[in-house]
Symmetry: C2
Subunit: 504 residues, 2 copies
């Protein structure tokens, strides 16, 4: 058996063995157990599952110190950010409990029998039901909020889907700890064993997405890793939904008016946004469009000064550090790319990266510089006039986000930029920065490929939509219908004969 | 240029040339025109597009006689069924106009700024927006309702997506006629050219799904054809959603009580259901589970008598006729399969098939007999007791539908069957037959692979969901927001701070 161990990114040293890679037989057993648990978890009902999510949140909070210490040791993210991530994780679990209680997500719909221009219509009732066991892949950069106890797990469990989680190899101990706490909460409430499982190892991940009992896959990670899973899934005899969040460049556009008005403030926010979490967030601004103007010059100078004064940072793991070194090394050798500023590297151990500010002309803005690169680096593009700005925007790949900083008098320009950016990004931000993704009803964390390959993603309440499928009942006796579709009043919004009705 | 001509299935003779296959340059031009039209069609607004759909319905109805005559000549479906299909098609266009006016489909959501347990939240507003140009593939068996003017086209146009339609080669003249009528309605309202286009030819279909401007593909057809398109799409550098409705066996289960109570009536309904439209509906019952009992014997005798008394029927095209001949020929040679009854074949010209009733034991119920086969054929499976019934159900592939005929006293059995069938079918029918799919708010026409590969499909109001993607606006000035997300009262339901609110 291959063993799984923690590695301390601050030193690069390998720690104690945490687990073994999950073998094929055990993987198969866990997937079958998940399938066996599916009916139970659905039948347990919305209130039960809301209680399960809240109990998991309580249990995670009660062990908060252990969790933060373990995650910090494995990721070097630091206790402050990890404390915030744990709060976000627990908030998320409780928010999905509210989604369950509110009940709109079921889309309960009843069409009474009657005559139509097409002829008689039977009694038709439709609702969303759980899709079945879900495979969740933990992400390296959020050991909590996008890993074992993260949004994918929470949203799948919420709607009644058992979950088999593939732990990210960067934080196996954090994964095991969170899993044992959540498993404990599930056990206390009498959930079957297959409700939640954890597996380790790359082969286990491949076997997982190919397993016949798995009905959907949620993944947050690199475009290459996501594409490999996507291709594996599409080779199944029965392809299943793959919900991937892959790569994003998150353009930030500064208009001439904004640069003139508040170059220093924008520079400060920008440096914070591309260096926070050592530049390893999927919403890191990877390209910044700055006007060729006095205001633009002031902005670039302020960003350069901040970058030059910043030391190196610890990255999550060896692969990310190696990718950062090779990508920035390749970019530095391109004749079209200039180094505007760089931070001081240290000789310390561990997986480190110094901040870097590059620039490229609009005509050289191409795939070589617009690929996602984790680490504290961003690329400036200076533009001259609105035509050149539009030309630059047209060259950007699709992203999770796009941000516009403009002045109040530039309303028309802001409107035109909105029209351009709406086609390439899932979230548009005004006078702000893309990092820091609120979890809420109106949030959307997605965008056209390569940002994501799906309409709904793991952030916000619509995350549950990925793990549901519609079912219609035609002329069904009352007793075989789900409670939410029976005659009489219910506690969820329903659409009856085309008219949306709120519960009394 | 390769020409496209009608073929009369009643005689097998080739008629006049209708069009030419669409070349690569023209295909590219049409897709670019569709992309150019996208912004216009979205900005035109919900009321405009509702008017466009209604005008298209009116225009199609005004030319109803021509349409029915042309479609009958190309498909041999017959004027009565085609008249009904045209009514359904126009009803569908008008229903999507209602969906637009009602506005829930936008999922307008506003989270005001404020404090949360995660820290401050910005102003977040989210809505669904059109995904962009959509490729629609016409189906052979519904030259209207699932072809040029069908549910895919109607739902895509409804939400503001330009459509490029690949005409089915079985009915090119019907496709051209309907296209010219709908194009005329669009022209009258001033829509740009790229709003709606029609292409012919297999290569054009492959080029279409690979074109960079196409953002989603809707397909109704064979599992093999769907899989080929699916694989093509997944080889794109930017895979896009593929909404395929592929193959379905639509099991019908008759309980012992139902067979005892009303064998003759069930037999009559069953024969009607598997022979209507010459057995070429995606909801045709392809397998029927019948108890080994006196009631079951009576049912089989009644079905056999009806099949034996039925003559041959004209199929849609040569390929379907050839597939029917080869599939039924292969099944007849299998030692596990018995011929229970067959209709009389005629020596007439054209693409013909005689009805056929086969049977197989539960232990021999496998892929060889549960693949979809267009044509007036079904397979009986006799079962002895509930365990054998459950074993048979477990061997069925997933389907669009499953039907249960039971007696009132068999409530518990009906409940258990519901639990089993819910996992493999998207619509459950009680004491009825799967053919005849109402278009309504509560309808669902889908199921796990191979029935469909998507959550939402082309039938019912949720069809629009396939052609929308979420967009979130963060701290946006009012003037860049879509009307439905601005402050103040609007005419659509919205969720504000988590609470669903109906318009006043």
């Amino acid at each position: 058996m291959t063993v799984v161990a923690s590695i301390d990114p601050r030193t690069g040293t390998r720690g104690e063995v945490v687990a073994e890679e999950t073998g094929a037989a055990e993987l198969d057993r866990l997937c079958r157990a998940a399938a066996d648990a599916a009916g139970w978890l659905e039948a347990a009902g919305r209130d039960f599952r809301a209680g399960l999510l809240r109990r998991m949140a309580d249990a995670l909070e009660a062990r908060g110190e252990d969790i933060v210490a373990t995650a910090d040791r494995e990721t070097a993210i630091g206790p402050t950010r990890l404390g915030g991530e744990l709060r976000r994780t627990c908030y998320q679990l409780r928010l999905f409990a509210e989604v369950l209680e509110e009940g709109s997500y079921l889309e309960a719909t009843i069409d009474p029998p009657g005559e139509t221009p097409m002829g008689p219509r039977p009694d038709l009732r439709r609702m969303l039901v759980p899709i079945g066991p879900v495979a969740v892949f933990g992400a390296s950069n959020f050991p909590l909020a996008f890993s074992v106890p993260g949004g994918d797990t929470a949203s799948a469990l919420a709607v009644g889907c058992p979950v088999v989680i593939k732990a990210h190899e960067s934080h196996p101990a954090t994964s095991e700890l969170c899993f044992s706490i959540m498993r404990g909460a599930a056990d206390e409430l009498g959930c079957p064993e297959g409700t939640l499982s954890l597996v380790h190892g790359r082969q286990a991940g491949a076997d997982l997405v190919s397993h016949p009992e798995i009905r959907a896959v949620a993944f947050t990670g690199s475009p290459a890793g996501g594409r490999a899973l996507f291709d594996l899934i599409n080779r199944r005899p029965d392809p299943i939904p793959f919900y991937g969040e892959l790569g994003s460049i998150n353009p930030v556009i500064v208009t001439p008016g904004a640069a003139d008005e508040r170059a220093a403030a924008i520079a400060e926010g920008l440096v914070g946004s591309f260096t926070v979490a050592a530049g390893q967030l999927c919403t890191k601004p990877g390209v910044v469009l700055v006007p060729r103007s006095a205001g633009g010059d002031a902005l670039v100078e302020a960003v350069s000064a901040a970058v030059g004064a910043t030391g190196d940072q610890v990255l999550l793991n060896e692969r990310i550090a190696a990718d950062y070194a090779s990508t920035t090394g390749r970019l530095r050798t391109l004749p079209s790319v200039s180094v505007v500023a760089q931070g001081e590297g240290s000789a310390a151990d561990g997986f480190r990266a110094a901040p870097l500010l590059l620039s490229v002309d609009v005509e050289n803005l191409d795939d070589a510089v617009t690929g996602e690169c984790f680490g504290p680096m961003t690329v400036l593009v200076r533009y001259d006039g609105e035509d050149e700005l539009a030309a630059a925007v047209a060259k950007l790949p699709s992203s999770l986000t796009a941000a516009v900083h403009s002045a109040p008098a530039e309303g028309e320009l802001t409107g035109r930029l909105t029209d351009l950016l709406r086609r390439v990004a899932g979230r548009l931000i005004y006078d702000g920065f893309p990092t820091g993704v609120s979890v809420s009803w109106a949030q959307h964390h997605g965008g056209p490929w390569p940002a994501t390959n799906s309409l709904h993603t793991s952030v916000g309440t619509s995350a549950v939509r990925r793990f549901l499928r519609p079912t219609a009942w035609q002329d069904a006796p009352q007793h075989v219908l789900p409670a939410e579709l029976r005659d009489g009043s219910v506690d969820v919004p329903r659409r009856i004969d085309g008219r949306l009705q709120l519960p009394e």
